[in-house]
């Protein structure tokens, strides 16, 4: 795209793109700003943007009123656990499909994708029932397992598209030099696959963190992650905009930052490699 453009044209593009960008980002910016206001300033008419007395009292209030640390820990445990478990199951599967393809590989991959399309609400009650029987309702382990299963197809697919880009000749050379299957995976494949595995990990952590059907329906007090913590603010009580904003900021900040690092993987992961 080395086309010559006039400075004027470039300036125009810049203004247009920044205007649209800021407009789209505005709700998030507004939430972050409001989280530093007092409740009275938060609903001031006309609204104040930057020139107010900044305060961190809302963060203290949120921390005190509800056990934020507990929800945060649940989110980390569930998102992290489901991603790691998923990787443990998916890495061998993706490896075998990428390097030892059989005539059925394509069908298996597409079938895995098809399980992702299963509408969650269609199986809500059976899962609910199974969870009660197995004592998994409102436990972190139970939710970790469910999120691992719903994201497993994406993990397998992402890893598969990354692994396929690793030249098979290198593996064959290692094999010729007498490397065992174990050595091959451990010393040859893994170092080359680390970037792909890292991006898969990142994207799936984000997806699990934001998942809001199963986390709302399978947890109560003990295992509820941040999605449920925020949902508890849906019945307003007096002045609460600033506190809602503080809680929201605390729930999205870590993931927003991770998300910015993984935007390229997002395209690859969520389109199952169909757009590169």
């Amino acid at each position: 795209m080395a086309r010559a453009v006039t400075t004027q044209r470039k300036a125009l593009n810049t203004v247009a793109a920044w205007t649209v960008g800021l407009l789209i980002f505005f709700p998030i910016l507004w939430t972050i700003l409001t989280s530093f206001k007092t409740e009275a300033t938060a609903i001031a008419d006309p609204p104040v943007f930057l020139f107010f007395d900044w305060t961190t009292e809302n963060y203290a209030a949120v921390m005190q009123r509800s056990d934020y640390a507990q929800f945060l820990w649940n989110s980390i445990f569930i998102a992290g656990g489901s991603t790691l478990l998923g990787l443990i199951v998916a890495i061998p599967a993706a490896w075998s499909m990428a390097f030892v393809p059989s005539p059925r590989t394509k069908d298996i991959l597409l079938w895995m994708l098809s399980t992702k399309m299963l509408p969650a609400v269609g199986v809500l009650y059976p899962i609910y029932l199974l969870f009660i029987r197995l004592g998994l309702l409102d436990t972190k382990i139970g939710l970790t397992l469910v999120l691992m299963l719903i994201n497993l197809p994406i993990i397998v697919w992402m890893l598969y598209t990354y692994f396929r880009e690793i030249p098979g000749e290198i593996l064959e050379a290692a094999r010729m030099d007498g490397a065992s299957l174990r050595d091959e995976i451990l010393y040859v494949l893994t170092p080359m696959a680390v970037p792909g595995i890292a991006s898969t990990l990142l994207l799936n952590f984000i997806l699990a963190w934001n998942e809001a059907f199963w986390t709302l329906n399978l947890t109560a007090a003990k295992a509820a992650p941040l999605t449920a913590f925020i949902a508890s603010y849906s019945s307003p009580e007096g002045l609460f905009y600033a506190k809602l904003s503080a809680a929201s900021t605390m729930a999205i900040a870590p993931i927003l930052i991770m998300g910015w690092f993984s935007q390229k993987q997002l395209v690859r992961g969520l389109t199952f490699g169909a757009v590169k």
Binding site: M97, P119, L256, F272
Partner: protein, 288 residues
């Protein structure tokens, strides 16, 4: 190429993933299928025996069924039109040379990483609240009567919230596709005197067709299942009860598992029809 040994090892490594997903798919789905043929009221007697297709008939003949189909279609359709139209425009804009392109990209992509419960609550309270919301202030500033967004304009409000969440995804995919377009082709057309409109219709749009299809299918699958956005805003009232939400209410709120399960099977069939198209496109890509 691969030895017999490698092949059996490969099968072994594939097995856990396949078994897990097979179980995840078959066990609950079979249970739903069984429940759908039963009168099953957990709080009022439990399993009351087989009833044949009664639940299926009752689900589609209930007065809530067609409105829920409409609500689903309007929300999914509205979000698709908005995200794809604006996504193309935004992708074209972001592809232009400018200062601070990286930062603008970051700003545009951000909403996708906001959890649905947060975005729904922020929009509901801080923007759409008829008294204290920013929109109310804005309307008043221009001397207009503030709108009761989530009750008077419930469907457009939900569409707005969900579109805001999905616009980044559409933009990012379309931008990725535009960047793979051969710029020489455009330049050649430009030199031949093709006006902007024909360059867009005859070169850019055909190039994007595959990406658009992908956005369409993937978003449809996710949008059919939107839940949190309705759960924390209207709870399905004011005409926002989608098929997903209707099934949810049948199962968990009215505790009629048989009826809800029949609805669930309808949803599964619907999702499968869309999935078949998506798989064809993705499958083609596997051979390339």
């Amino acid at each position: 190429m691969a030895t017999q040994h490698a092949r059996s090892a490969a099968r072994l490594m594939l097995a856990p993933a396949v078994i897990l997903l097979l179980g995840w798919m078959l066990v609950p789905l079979t249970m739903t299928l069984v429940f759908s043929f039963k009168k099953y009221l957990p709080l009022r007697g439990g399993d009351l025996g087989w009833v044949g297709f009664e639940n299926y008939v009752r689900f589609v003949t209930s007065s809530a069924f067609w409105p829920s189909i409409w609500a689903t279609l309007i929300i999914v359709g509205g979000v698709l039109v908005i995200t794809i139209a604006f996504g193309i425009a935004l992708a074209l804009l972001l592809d232009q040379p400018m200062w601070g392109q990286g930062i603008v990209r970051i700003l545009v992509i951000a909403p996708f990483f906001v959890m649905p419960t947060v975005s729904a609550l922020v929009w509901k309270n801080m923007f759409m609240d008829p008294v204290n919301g920013l929109f109310a202030h804005l309307w008043q500033f221009f001397g207009a009567e503030p709108i009761q967004w989530l009750s008077q304009a419930s469907l457009p409000s939900i569409i707005m919230i969900v579109s805001w969440q999905w616009l980044p995804f559409a933009t990012l995919i379309l931008l990725t596709a535009i960047q793979s377009l051969d710029s020489e082709q455009i330049e050649a057309a430009e030199m031949d005197g093709a006006p902007w409109r024909s360059r867009f219709i005859y070169i850019i749009l055909p190039h994007l067709s595959r990406a658009i299809t992908i956005v369409l299918l993937i978003q449809t699958i996710f949008l059919l299942g939107i839940f949190a956005e309705i759960f924390v805003t209207t709870q399905g009232s004011f005409g926002t009860r989608t098929l997903t939400y209707l099934i949810y209410q049948r199962v968990l709120e009215s505790q009629n598992v048989g009826l809800g399960s029949a609805g669930g099977i309808y949803a599964v069939i619907l999702a499968n029809i869309i999935a078949i198209f998506l798989m064809r496109i993705v499958g083609k890509n596997l051979d390339a």
